[in-house]
């Protein structure tokens, strides 16, 4: 076969298959060695700090980060960078909490929260919160996956691929991704999923590094020159490199909307920085290492990898703006998600001609595919763990299920949540659900963070406080989003098309901000504190001492 005839699409597809085969093999191996609850929920706690750190980074760096942020930077310049800063700084909070949580908990966040509280209400609340946050995040990822994979395979409207048109291909993609994700989780458990994360994270880092080096070498490793070219190509000159292109836009002559836009940006920033420590799929991963010290090491590794990665997306985004150009990116995908793959193609062509371009494009597309698959698996695992361990094991079975029983329920729950994710994603595949990622962070920050922090640090905190904090934070986030412009009432001022979830014409938005974090996070804390002070229930100081000793020293930890 002559190299000139290589069809990039076939190559991409081949790499997809190679990744799938490799991960399936890992999963089957993990299935063989997964024996009990420790193995299924926590990978037997045999992962080393660095391994778990790479997996944490893998869990965290979703396709939204890789393609989304590169795309935002390519289209809106500097503002995309604001996202990555929030995503990274959030890890410092995680670093401070990780050891205590690792020591105090066993498999889930609820283990920590219910340590000195009444089991049933706390675990129910924690399970509901975990599943809600995970499913919203999952939905965003899967809808994105459908659109993305179709794009990566180059299936345009009116084109056919293996006899499928674009719409069918999207649905098929969602179903295939969902099926694989269910398989990884039900069979591989935490062990299989962790290795999938590790493989994915390594692929992602390699891909991003290769692209970054190529981009920078194109500009003689002169960052200033790259920024200059990007600014020139964007047609907005220096403004492209300044904040305000996308977030906190200033509306001339309208102080009210200007302030609202800026508050909206602050709200998003707050949710990003406070949400990570409460994301269920991140918290579940704290328990896969043997002790707190390894947990700290793993978060340090994650900080290093995530930081390096987001610095590289800066180069990718500005590189795409400079080398591919805004028009070409928007032509492929108005949201800019294909900026990184297009950049890969452009760079590959410069290095190795048409073939080089196709090969690099195929590689980056496969990396994106791996990213999507790994992240959704992590989410399904986190929510099924919580459902089985917290809700089934402790609420329904009063903490005394058989171990085998609970694991079986966990596998079934993974199947259930995976299926729910598939159905919802297929239904919502043509809706604009990108806001769900930010919403998931806001919910995690508003519902989970107050409960975690106050449980660990406030002696007086009690069951009523945990329950009120979780439901208050979760409920307020949801209500505010439903009443916000992302669900209804936001229209394009030029075309009149709806920019919201619901079609134009429906408008019941009351809350002006798109991100609820600014209100719902303080509200979550407030609910937790007020409910604690109002309830007559007395916290047990001895139990607090026990939790405190255990979480700080690791005495008696699992």
């Amino acid at each position: 076969m002559a190299w000139e005839d290589v069809d990039g699409r076939v190559l991409t597809f081949g790499l997809f298959l190679a990744f799938i085969v490799a991960t399936l093999a890992i999963t089957v191996w993990a299935r063989v060695t997964t024996k009990g609850a420790d193995d299924f929920y926590a990978g037997g706690r045999v992962f080393s700090g660095p391994q778990n750190g790479v997996a944490l980074a893998g869990d965290y760096m979703s396709a939204a980060s890789f393609l989304g942020i590169a795309g935002i930077i390519a289209l809106s310049g500097y503002d995309g960078f604001l996202y990555s800063i929030g995503f990274l700084v959030a890890w410092l909070l995680t670093l401070l909490l990780v050891e205590m949580m690792r020591n105090a908990g066993r498999f889930t966040m609820a283990d920590v929260l219910s340590y000195r509280m009444r089991q049933t209400p706390v675990r129910t609340a924690a399970a509901i919160s975990t599943v809600t946050v995970s499913v919203f995040y999952l939905l965003a990822q899967m809808v994105g996956a459908g659109a993305l994979v179709s794009l990566l395979l180059g299936i345009q409207e009116g084109e056919r691929f293996f006899g499928m048109d674009a719409g069918t291909a999207k649905t098929v993609t969602i179903v295939v991704v969902g099926a694989l994700m269910i398989f990884y989780v039900t069979f591989g458990g935490m062990k299989g999923t962790t290795w999938v994360q590790i493989v994915k994270a390594v692929l992602l880092m390699v891909g991003a590094t290769v692209l970054t080096v190529l981009v920078l070498s194109r500009f003689g490793f002169n960052v200033s020159r790259m920024l200059g070219s990007a600014a020139d190509a964007s047609g907005r000159s220096q403004e492209f490199l300044q904040p305000g292109q996308r977030f906190g836009k200033e509306v001339p002559g309208d102080v009210y909307h200007t302030i609202l836009n800026k508050l909206d940006f602050v709200s998003l920033a707050l949710a990003l920085v406070l949400g990570t420590a409460g994301l269920p799929h991140i918290v579940t991963r704290f328990f896969t290492v043997p002790d707190a010290r390894a947990a700290r090491t793993s978060v340090n590794w994650a900080i290093g990898l995530v930081g390096a990665f987001y610095l590289m997306t800066l180069a990718l985004g500005f590189g795409a703006a400079a080398l591919v150009g805004r028009d070409a990116i928007v032509a492929q995908d108005p949201a800019g998600n294909t900026a990184a793959p297009q950049l890969a193609q452009a760079l590959g062509q410069e290095v190795g001609g048409k073939v080089g371009g196709e090969i690099l494009l195929a590689f980056i597309a496969a990396v994106a595919f791996a990213t999507i698959l790994a992240v959704v698996s992590g989410l399904v695992l986190a929510s099924s763990t919580s459902l089985a361990h917290d809700f089934f094991g402790h609420v329904l079975m009063f903490g005394r299920p058989r171990e085998s029983q609970e694991v079986a329920v966990a596998r079934f729950a993974a199947f259930l949540i995976g299926s729910l994710g598939i159905v919802l994603a297929v239904v919502a595949q043509n809706l604009n659900v990108a806001f769900l990622v930010a919403l998931a962070f806001a919910m995690a920050a508003a519902a989970n963070l107050p409960a975690i922090v106050l449980t660990l640090f406030w002696k007086r905190f009690n069951t009523a406080g945990v329950v009120a904090g979780i439901y208050g934070g979760l409920g307020s986030s949801l209500m505010l989003v439903i009443c916000s412009p992302v669900v209804s009432g936001k229209t394009d001022p030029v075309t009149g098309e709806s920019l919201s979830l619901l079609p134009a014409g429906v408008d019941f938005h009351i809350f002006p901000l798109e991100n609820p974090g600014l209100v719902s996070i303080p509200f979550g804390f407030l609910c937790a504190i007020v409910a604690t002070l109002l309830s007559r229930e007395k916290a047990d100081p001895e139990r607090y001492d026990e939790l405190s000793v255990r979480s700080l020293t690791g005495t008696g930890s699992h």
């Binding site: 060695t33 420790d38 037997g44 706690r45 045999v46 992962f47 080393s48 660095p50 391994q51 500097y78 960078f81 604001l82 800063i85 990274l88 890890w91 410092l92 909070l93 670093l95 401070l96 219910s114 062990k191 920024l227 200059g228 220096q238 300044q242 904040p243 305000g244 800026k262 940006f265 602050v266 920033a269 920085v273 043997p290 010290r293 090491t297 978060v299 340090n300 900080i303 290093g304 930081g307 610095l311 402790h394 009063f398 903490g399 005394r400 299920p401 058989r402 171990e403 640090f457 001895e542 001492d545 026990e546 000793v549 700080l552 020293t553 690791g554 005495t555 008696g556 930890s557 699992h558």
Partner: protein, 408 residues
Amino acid sequence: MVWDSTPSGRRGRRADKPPHWRYAVMAQDERYLLVKVRFRRVVVGMVAAFLGWYLAYVALSAFARGFMARQVFGNVNVALLLGVLQFVSTFLLAWCYSRYARRALDPLTAELRGEAGSGGRGRRGGRKAEGNAGRHRRDQNDPDQNDAARHRRENGHEPPAWHNDASHGAPPGAPPGSPPGAPPGGPPGAPPGAGGRSPWAGYGSYRPPPIPPPPGPGVHGGGGAGQGPPGRWQGLPEPGRWHGPPGNANGNGNGTRGAGHGPAAARSEQAERGAFGAQAEWGDLGPPGLQSTQGAWGQPGAWVPPGAWGQQGMQGEQGMQGVQGVQGMQGAFGSQGEQGAGAVSAEAEWGASAETGRLRREVVQGRAAREAAARERAEGRPGDGRRPGRRESGRDGGGWARPGLGGL
């Protein structure tokens, strides 16, 4: 490296959960209170630092666009520069915190955990020991660390006291049998409360502020303020140096806190603390004898109480190694005059005999646990069985309904 350690079987399922009263006792332990105070301090400091800086950055991005748009060099403007600085500060803070935790928190928590006899940990000890040894060998090659330590020492930047060491009963006056020339109660000019060497001395520039005495019972009687052995930062002539109270080696020869009461026990504790600078490096693996004074203040030709040798000698072959370890360390002090380096070199030696160390640890831990239990019994601590089994099982992630596994 990531790939080096593949999962190999199941390691370290928790063996025994300590009984309830264990936690109650530990909650009063002054070392635990110290850990708690330190941890809360560092959490508040870190959160204030990173959240304040991040929110300031966000506010600038939102409300100070003119400032952010200013160009610094080439096409790089203030906004980009501050953004990259956020990355740098994140890395830096993470590094500082981990360093601090490793040096100031881990040794204490490891010690507490070891005394509580938290079963599952023991089996992991071997692996940890190797990990620690590796880390220390790395530190040895880290010139910055030693340079920083020397720099601070020379410039007298040491913190006054690393905590209320004095409250643990620093020896009143010169110990009996100390070498001639050992200053009674420390030399003039010793900072008040300079009860020992700062555990974060020599650990880079991060140095938390002095910590007030932890409240609550369990703190050993004070009164030793200002009488502790001087830190090294005073630049005293070497031969006249205080070499630590005698009896430390006796009290600490087995690597645990002495079971006795009274001033002798207090002294041994104090020495143990003073030795943290060195001990910090081993965590709970500190080989017996090394926690004794020589570890912290040992000098070339330091006087060693006969009891220490005897004690170590009684441990037979292992004891001999312990002696060698001490000697090696002293040798290192002699050549480098640097406590950190001394600890490191001794660590390297110990790393070489990890197996011996493991055996010794088992002996030591078992003994410590027995002694502690005896002490608790003698002091009439609240008994176990405060709570019925049912609730216990539910509390911390619950037990499986499997006979024989109990509340695991």
